[in-house]
C-alpha cells in the first residue's frame, strides 16, 4: 500500500482502484512474508495517476496560449508600456501612492491600538465610545467618508485650538489646513483605524490569560507587561491580518482618484485620457501594484519569522 497525496480512498488503497489485479496480488505477498522472506525482498510500486498527466497537459496548453497572447497581441502595446512605466510623472504618482499607504497605515494603526485598548478597558464609557467609532467607520463606505473629508471646509470654515467650549488660542482656515492630500490621508487613516482596532484587540485576546497572571505574579510593571509579554505574543496573530489590511489599503488608495489626487491610478487615467492608450497604461498601474504588493508580502514573511521565536509550530 502506498501513501499518496491523492484524496483518501479508504484504508485499502489498492482494491477500489484496481479490483481485478490487487486481490490475487495480495495472497502471494502474504505467503512470501509468512514463509519468512526478508522484507528487503519486497518492492513497493507506487500507484500510477494517468489522469493527473492529462490535467497537467491541458493546463500547460492553456497557460502557453495565454502567454502567447500577452506577447503577440499588438493590443497590449508593450512599447507604450515601456515608455510610461518609468516615466517621471508615473514615478511621482507611485511615490504619492506609497505616501498615502504609509501615512494611512501609521496613523490608522496608532489610533487602532488606542481604540483596541479602549475596547478592552474596564470602563463602560471608554468601551462604548470605541465600539461606536468602530461601528460608524465600518458602516460607511470608504468613498463616502473620503468625500465627507474632502468637503470638511463646507461644514467647518475654521478649526480652532483652545479650551473646549471656551476661548480659542489658534485658529486655522480649514481649506488651507485640510488640503486634498491630507483629507485623503485622514479619510484612509480613520477608516483603517476601525479595522486595525479589531485586529489588535483580537491579537491581545489571543494571548492566554495565564501569561498576564504570570507577569502580574512576578510584579512586572504594567507597561512592561504589555510591551515585553503581551504585544510580542499578540503580534503572531496580528501580523497576517495586519498585512492583509496594509495590502488592501495600498490598493485601496486608488479610490482616492475620485478626489483628483495625483496617485498612481489617477495619473494613469490622466495619461490615457490624453493619449487614448488605455490598455498599456492600465498595465503600467497593474505591474506597479503587483511589484509593490510582492515587496510587502516578502517583508511580511521576514517580520512574521522574527515574531515566531520560540513557537512550536
Amino acid at each position: 500500500m502506498s501513501l499518496t497525496s491523492d484524496p483518501p480512498v479508504g484504508p485499502s488503497t489498492g482494491p477500489p482502484i484496481d479490483p481485478p489485479v490487487e486481490p490475487p496480488a495480495d495472497p502471494p505477498a502474504a505467503k512470501e512474508a509468512g514463509s519468512g522472506a526478508g522484507p528487503d525482498e519486497l518492492t513497493v510500486v507506487p500507484v500510477r495517476h494517468p489522469w493527473r498527466w492529462v490535467a497537467i497537459a491541458a493546463t500547460a496548453v492553456l497557460l502557453a496560449q495565454f502567454l502567447n497572447g500577452l506577447i503577440t497581441n499588438p493590443g497590449w502595446e508593450w512599447d507604450v508600456f515601456a515608455q510610461f512605466f518609468t516615466a517621471p510623472t508615473i514615478l511621482k504618482a507611485v511615490w504619492v501612492t506609497l505616501q498615502l499607504t504609509v501615512y494611512g497605515t501609521a496613523i490608522g494603526f496608532a489610533l487602532g491600538i488606542v481604540l483596541a485598548f479602549m475596547r478592552l478597558s474596564a470602563s463602560v464609557f471608554l468601551r462604548t465610545v470605541a465600539y461606536g467609532y468602530i461601528w460608524a467607520f465600518r458602516s460607511i463606505p470608504l468613498i463616502v467618508q473620503l468625500l465627507f473629508w474632502f468637503n470638511l471646509a463646507y461644514l467647518y470654515k475654521e478649526l480652532q485650538f483652545g479650551i473646549p467650549f471656551g476661548p480659542g488660542f489658534f485658529a486655522f482656515d480649514t481649506m488651507n489646513l485640510v488640503g486634498a492630500t491630507s483629507a485623503a490621508v485622514l479619510g484612509l487613516a480613520l477608516h483603517q483605524a476601525a479595522y486595525a482596532a479589531e485586529i489588535v484587540r483580537g491579537g491581545v485576546l489571543a494571548v492566554g490569560s495565564g501569561q498576564l497572571e504570570a507577569a502580574a505574579a512576578l510584579g512586572i510593571p504594567k507597561f512592561r507587561q504589555l510591551r515585553r509579554i503581551v504585544l510580542p505574543q499578540a503580534m503572531r496573530s496580528i501580523l497576517p491580518n495586519a498585512a492583509n489590511e496594509i495590502i488592501s489599503l495600498f490598493k485601496g488608495t486608488s479610490i482616492v482618484s475620485v478626489m483628483a489626487i495625483g496617485e498612481l491610478f489617477y495619473q494613469v487615467q490622466v495619461v490615457y485620457g490624453r493619449n487614448g492608450r488605455v490598455v498599456p497604461l492600465l498595465m503600467v498601474a497593474t505591474v506597479w501594484y503587483i511589484l509593490l504588493t510582492t515587496a510587502l508580502s516578502v517583508l511580511q514573511h521576514y517580520v512574521e519569522r522574527h515574531y515566531a521565536k520560540g513557537a512550536v509550530r
Binding site: G210, A217, P221, K222, G310
Partner: protein
C-alpha cells in the same frame, strides 16, 4: 488587627464570592517562617482561590491577609482598608513567588530571559547580576544546559522547574505553589517534587496546594484540609492524615489514599 506577629502569613476571616457562589467562607490561617503548609481538599473547595488571594491575584471581599507583617493589597487607615494602586500591588508581589499549575512560562522568551525578566524590570537589578544569579538557579533545578532553550522545547517537568527558578529569582520571602504537578505526566512528577522538597529542607516558607498525599506526609509541617470554602481541620501530617478528627476529612482521604 493584631500587631505584627511572628507569623510569615496571617489570614483572618477571609471571604470571597464569585457572583453568587461563595468560594471562601471565613478562612483563618497562620504560617510561621520556614514552615511548609500543604493545603488539601476536593475540587471546588476554594484551596486555589485562597492561594491566589495571598498574592492578590484575587481580591478578598472581607477579611485581610498579611505577609511578613505587611497587609496584602490594602493600606489601613483607622478602621478603613484602602485598596492599593496596581503599581504598589505589583511591588508587593515581588516578595511572594507564585508557581502555576500550567507553568505559564513566556513562550517567546528563552529560559534565561524568562528568569531574568522580573529581576531586571521589577527589581531594577543590573542585567549582569540577574544573569549570574539565574545561572545559579538553573544549576539548582538541574537545567544548566537549557538556558538558551525556548519553553516549547522542554518537557513539562523541565518547564515547571524553570518556573520555580523564575519565582526564586526574585528572592521571595514566601513561595506559593498551585497544584505544581497536576499538569505533568506521572513519570515527571518526581523531578518537580524533588526540587520543591529541596527548597523546603532549605528553610523556604511555602504554601503548597496539591493532591500529592505522599509529598504532604513527607514535607509538610502543617496539613490544612479544606472543603466548601472552609478549613475543616489542620495540624501536623501525622494527625490530619492518619488520625483525622472530622468525618469529611476521613471520607476524602479514603478516596485519594
Amino acid at each position: 488587627m493584631s500587631a505584627p506577629s511572628d507569623a510569615m502569613v496571617e489570614i483572618r476571616s477571609v471571604h470571597k464570592k464569585f457572583g453568587s457562589l461563595e468560594v471562601l467562607r471565613g478562612i483563618d490561617l497562620s504560617v510561621r517562617p520556614g514552615e511548609v503548609t500543604v493545603i488539601l481538599g476536593p475540587s471546588g473547595s476554594g484551596k486555589s482561590t485562597l492561594l491566589r488571594t495571598i498574592n492578590h491575584l484575587e481580591k478578598v471581599d472581607r477579611g485581610w491577609i498579611s505577609v511578613d507583617g505587611t497587609l496584602v493589597g490594602y493600606r489601613r487607615d483607622g478602621d478603613k482598608l484602602y485598596e492599593l494602586r496596581e503599581r504598589e500591588v505589583l511591588r508587593q508581589r515581588t516578595r511572594i513567588g507564585f508557581v502555576f499549575q500550567n507553568f505559564n512560562l513566556f513562550p517567546h522568551l528563552t529560559v534565561l530571559e524568562n528568569i531574568i525578566e522580573a529581576p531586571i524590570s521589577a527589581l531594577r537589578r543590573p542585567r549582569k547580576e540577574a544573569v549570574a544569579s539565574a545561572e545559579k538557579l538553573l544549576e539548582r533545578v538541574g537545567l544548566s544546559d537549557k538556558a538558551a532553550a525556548y519553553p516549547g522545547q522542554l518537557s513539562g517537568g523541565q518547564q515547571q522547574r524553570v518556573a520555580i527558578a523564575r519565582a526564586l529569582a526574585l528572592e521571595p520571602r514566601l513561595l506559593l505553589f498551585d497544584e505544581p504537578t497536576s499538569a505533568l505526566d506521572p513519570e515527571l512528577v518526581g523531578e518537580v517534587l524533588d526540587v520543591i522538597k529541596d527548597l523546603a529542607h532549605g528553610g523556604t516558607t511555602m504554601i503548597v496546594v496539591t493532591h500529592e498525599i505522599g509529598f504532604a506526609r513527607e514535607v509538610a509541617d502543617t496539613v490544612v484540609f479544606m472543603d466548601e470554602g472552609r478549613i475543616v481541620e489542620q495540624g501536623p501530617p501525622a494527625d490530619v492524615l492518619d488520625r483525622p478528627t472530622q468525618e469529611r476529612t476521613r471520607a476524602f482521604l479514603s478516596k485519594v489514599l
